[in-house]
């Protein structure tokens, strides 16, 4: 029989000792990590990194976070899904790799912890997989941003364009308050339509978007441009097709 245990710390890893010199911001030029099935030459991409913990420092060599190639190689690419010509980035295999999944969450948590972020918004449905663990670890609330008619209470909604037609995302009224600082999580940014709608939805209620964070970017689709002032942080880039 279970006995009541004293308060259990949600730990994904032993907490790193506080850095002796305090936090410092480090910017690295990192080659973008291309997923294995694509042949384009690597291009230099500037990643700005958040405060370093000793654990993250241990994982770095020549300025590159060694966790990232492992994360990239855990993602499966499925051709012609959902339709011919699309190379689908399947993160379910990342979720089956306990080390890669833990590393993914750790990287985001290291970046956003201690930054006064009180809201982690996650876009349905794969954003629901990455967002809550991050929210729990940084002490923020998790706010699901959903397709129409899924949320039971009073909602506000924002429309966005699809290739053909439009769709909407919705958020509960009262989930967030003006002045809160938020990050928005999704597994992947393609055209940026969904993320841009999420940004508009949160900004309409006075929330400050600190950053959008995705595991994967498809840079050829220029999603970044749709995000306006909001920065974008990603771990891995890939070709769209």
């Amino acid at each position: 029989m279970q006995s009541i245990v004293s308060s259990h710390h949600l730990c994904f890893a032993p907490p790193p000792p506080p850095p002796v010199l305090g936090h410092r911001l480090i910017c690295h030029s990192l080659p973008s990590i291309r997923l294995p099935s694509h042949r384009s030459p690597t291009s230099l991409r500037l990643f700005s990194c958040a405060a370093e913990s000793e654990m993250a420092a241990a994982a770095k060599e020549d300025g590159q976070d060694l966790r990232i190639p492992k994360i990239a190689s855990s993602i499966r690419v499925i051709p012609d899904f959902p339709k011919p010509g699309i190379m689908f980035q399947d993160i379910t295999t990342l979720l089956l790799d306990t080390e890669a999944f833990k590393d993914t969450i750790d990287i985001f948590v290291e970046r956003y912890k201690g930054k006064g972020i009180s809201v982690v918004a996650g876009v349905e449905a794969r954003g629901f997989i990455f967002g809550p663990p991050i929210a729990l670890a940084i002490g923020a609330k998790f706010v699901p941003m959903r397709k129409p008619k899924k949320l039971p209470g009073k909602v506000i909604s924002e429309e966005y364009s699809l290739e053909y037609g439009t769709d909407k995302i919705e958020m509960h009224v009262g989930a967030v308050e003006p002045g809160e600082r938020a990050i928005i999580i999704d597994d992947l940014i393609a055209t940026g339509g969904t993320l841009a709608a999420a940004i508009r939805l949160l900004e309409r209620v006075g929330v400050k978007i600190v950053e959008c964070a995705c595991v994967i970017e498809l840079p050829e689709l220029n999603g970044r441009e749709k995000l306006g002032e909001a920065p974008l942080f990603i771990l891995v880039t890939s070709d769209a097709a």
Binding site: H8, L10, F101, R146
Partner: protein
């Protein structure tokens, strides 16, 4: 079985969790099947807004499963996705999403289940679980158990062993029903707010 009957009686965390869940009447539609007042939808989004209560929820499940050699946490789309991954990460298990048809890109197996009117299907990637793996299945709420039963079938078709199904909320139908398709069922709280209206 309910957590309060299984070692957590009087645990203040359970009260905090229950208090954080919002009841929304008549969602998704008015219905008189379950009570005179209609469906009282148990909205867990307010639990997710309460960091302490959300953490308690995950902690209780992690404490229960961390020493049970669980290698797979399966979560039912979409609200099972909000709870499952955090549990999986904390106990060192894989997370396997169980999804509506057409969402998973790779080769899938599927199982159908009954809805109030009609039926739906639940899908899983064929390579997600291996034979003899020990699995827990997570969803936010269990009502009739139809979805969880389909999930159990998917796991067993791959030779995996379902150790337990776990939900935050269990509707009155499941009280006293300790097993679902022969598998144990573990639930944290009963639905909030029913007594106010009865």
């Amino acid at each position: 079985m309910f957590a309060a009957e299984n070692g957590l009686k009087g645990d203040p965390r359970l009260e905090a969790i229950s208090a954080a869940i919002r009841v929304v009447p008549n969602f998704p539609k008015k219905s008189f099947m379950f009570s005179r007042t209609g469906i009282m939808f148990q909205d867990i989004t307010t639990l997710l807004l309460d960091h302490k209560a959300f953490k308690h929820t995950i902690d209780i499940f992690v404490d229960r499963y961390k020493d049970m050699q669980i290698s797979v946490v399966a979560g039912v789309e979409a609200r099972g996705f909000m709870f499952g991954p955090s549990i999986a990460l904390a106990i060192g298990a894989k997370f396997v999403p169980l999804r509506k048809p057409g969402k998973l890109p790779g080769k899938v197996i599927s199982e159908s289940y009954e809805l109030e009117y009609g039926h739906d299907r639940l899908e899983m990637h064929v390579d997600a679980v291996e034979p003899l793996e020990r699995v827990i299945i997570i969803d936010d709420l269990v009502a009739t158990g139809g979805t969880l039963s389909a999930a159990i079938s998917l796991m067993e078709s791959q030779g995996a062993e379902v150790v337990e199904c776990a939900c935050v909320i269990g509707l009155p139908e499941v009280k006293g029903q300790h097993k679902l398709k022969g598998k144990p069922l573990y639930v944290l709280v009963e639905p909030s707010g029913l007594d106010e209206f009865c």
